[in-house]
Symmetry: C2
Subunit: 213 residues, 2 copies
């Protein structure tokens, strides 16, 4: 296969050269193609990443954001904390597609020198350039079938959070706070840190979706 | 003031031209300077964004990631869900710095035509280019003092999650799963979706930090 091309700025955004950013970049490209859509200039696609915390390979998600523009800043990518190298892509009125990095490809990459360095605690930018380039080339020349298991989910539904521009100043610290995050305390409208309620109770967001299989 | 320069690729990553990506980009640049560090090629800086869901202006976070390389994919930026245009930047052995977009600057931007379009539901890429450029230029020519309140937090501590490369195949679906996300069910090691435990109980991650003021 011809070498897949990734723009240089995606590496600059990510900060280093590693195999998982390119894996995510290719994953995003396939999602756009399978859903028949362009990259999300505004707030179109939502990505439910199955990655979590406390493990490597999350770099995949920077690749997904770079090829789809479904970014963290725009609220278009969430972590499901399943600990898998997989993501489901949802687009309004198009359903979803789940893409998983094949076990066999994970096993193919695992013995590479790149991971020997990583497991010794060497950070990616400190790994010899030749080693980095070699593992990236393995990713960029692999076929889609070798890389991924792709599952089309025509009935996948996702409900984005309804947004509001309403904000008010916290009556203690004075800082503007979006309305949904104002709390009441001692008869005043206050922000969460000033309320101190979050010492005992954290607020979380979990994306609302249904695979409808 | 001279016009602050933002690389073109940051807009390409973000997907559209708006004022809040540049605000975040400048915020990140100041954080690097105040902490006396370079952008994070690997896993150095951690950003605790005070933004949440269901409100605009989260675009700021794409700017922060672009100027600092403290990215979502690398697990270096988290949302605290406070609903404020603010973030705290932590760097190992350097403490932290909190940067808040001044109320007065928020009030200065608010009546701009850009937001008249946004509040009518017009997406950023559909707003006339002249209107977009004008509001971006307001951001790029504002002084740091006009934009931000900067609080140095020398004793700010943050504890990154300890990582592990360990993974095993789920004994039901067969997919590789990072160890911390394997669960036990009917005597088998299974992934969270196969366990179905997450229908009743979600797992969340909340960053561990202390402002130590």
């Amino acid at each position: 296969m011809e070498k897949f091309q990734i723009p240089e700025w995606a590496y600059e955004f990510h900060g280093h050269q590693c195999p998982f950013m390119p894996i995510g970049y290719r994953m995003g490209t396939i999602a756009l193609e399978k859903l028949g859509v362009k990259k999300s200039q505004n707030h179109e696609m939502h990505v439910l990443s199955e990655m979590g915390v406390g493990h490597p390979q999350g770099c995949m998600q920077d690749g997904i954001m770079s090829s789809t523009s479904a970014t963290f800043g725009k609220g278009l990518i969430e972590k499901l904390n399943y600990g898998k190298v997989a993501a489901t892509f949802w687009y309004p009125n198009k359903g979803g597609v789940r893409i998983f990095l094949n076990n066999e490809f994970q096993e193919k990459l695992a013995p590479h020198d790149f991971f020997k360095y990583r497991k010794k605690g060497v950070e990616p930018s400190e790994i010899p350039a030749k080693v980095r380039q070699d593992i990236i080339d393995i990713v960029l020349t692999a076929s889609i079938d070798e890389l991924f298991t792709i599952e089309i989910l025509p009935n996948f539904t996702y409900t984005p959070v309804k947004g509001s521009f309403a904000k008010e100043k916290c009556e203690v610290c004075g800082e503007y706070t979006f309305e949904r995050y104002l709390r009441m305390k001692d008869g005043k409208k206050v922000c969460i840190p000033c309320s101190e309620y979050n010492k005992a109770e954290k607020g979380f967001y979990y994306p609302q979706f249904n695979t409808n299989k």
